[in-house]
């Protein structure tokens, strides 16, 4: 599965700067990524959907996140726990976050990236990886 790789700053410049809506969403996404990173077990972050497009006012940001094998949310509390609960994360940060650990195996993660590489009308859409 091909995906372009950005640093967080490159991702901000490319997708999070052009409109106030994009600036707001990116600031929210940065918070989410910080919380994910603070677990110490974040492996990979992929962005896709309308935010990774030329749409000036995307509704939200779609992330597919892979955590290290052995990661568990069982002991997380507060905001760090909230980002792993999709509905809470979407409402609080505008980030639609799908996650899994690498224990599932790379082939299954690749399958999900393939699913996410098409929109609901089955048109191809880009996926970018944010280098952590």
């Amino acid at each position: 599965m091909f995906s372009q790789i950005f640093t967080l700053d490159e991702f901000a410049n490319q997708y999070g700067a052009n409109t106030p809506r994009r600036q707001f969403l990116f600031s929210q996404a940065r918070t989410v990524i910080s919380l994910l990173h603070a677990t110490g077990q974040l492996k990979r972050v992929f962005g896709y959907g309308s935010f990774v497009s030329e749409k000036p006012n995307p509704n939200d940001i779609d992330f597919f996140v892979v955590m290290e094998a052995g990661f568990t949310t069982a002991h997380l509390k507060g905001k760090m726990a909230e980002v792993f609960q999709n509905e809470t994360c979407r409402i609080r940060y505008g980030v639609d976050l799908f996650w899994v650990t690498e224990a599932i195996g790379e082939a299954y993660s690749e399958d999900m990236l393939d699913v996410f590489s098409r929109d609901r009308q089955q048109n191809s859409q880009p996926i970018v990886e944010i280098k952590i």
């Binding site: 996650w99 699913v115 009308q121």
Partner: protein, 66 residues
């Protein structure tokens, strides 16, 4: 919205990939973590199944108009 058979077949393939993903996730994650991670994938499956049902409910005349 699905508008032709090609999109129908792709939607079926995507649903099958999500099923398999969740089967594997359930085997490889604790019950607590599985419950947290599965919900958005389940919602995606539900939404896509609904689109398939809506497409398959349309008569051929309606498909031409669509």
């Amino acid at each position: 919205m699905i508008i032709d058979d090609e999109q129908l077949h792709q939607a079926q393939i995507d649903i099958q990939k999500m099923w398999r993903f969740l089967e594997a996730a359930r085997r490889t994650h604790s019950a607590f973590d599985y419950e947290r991670l599965a919900s958005p994938y389940l919602l995606q499956i539900q939404q896509r199944q609904q689109e398939i049902l809506e497409y398959l409910s349309m008569k051929s005349e309606e498909l031409v108009v669509a």
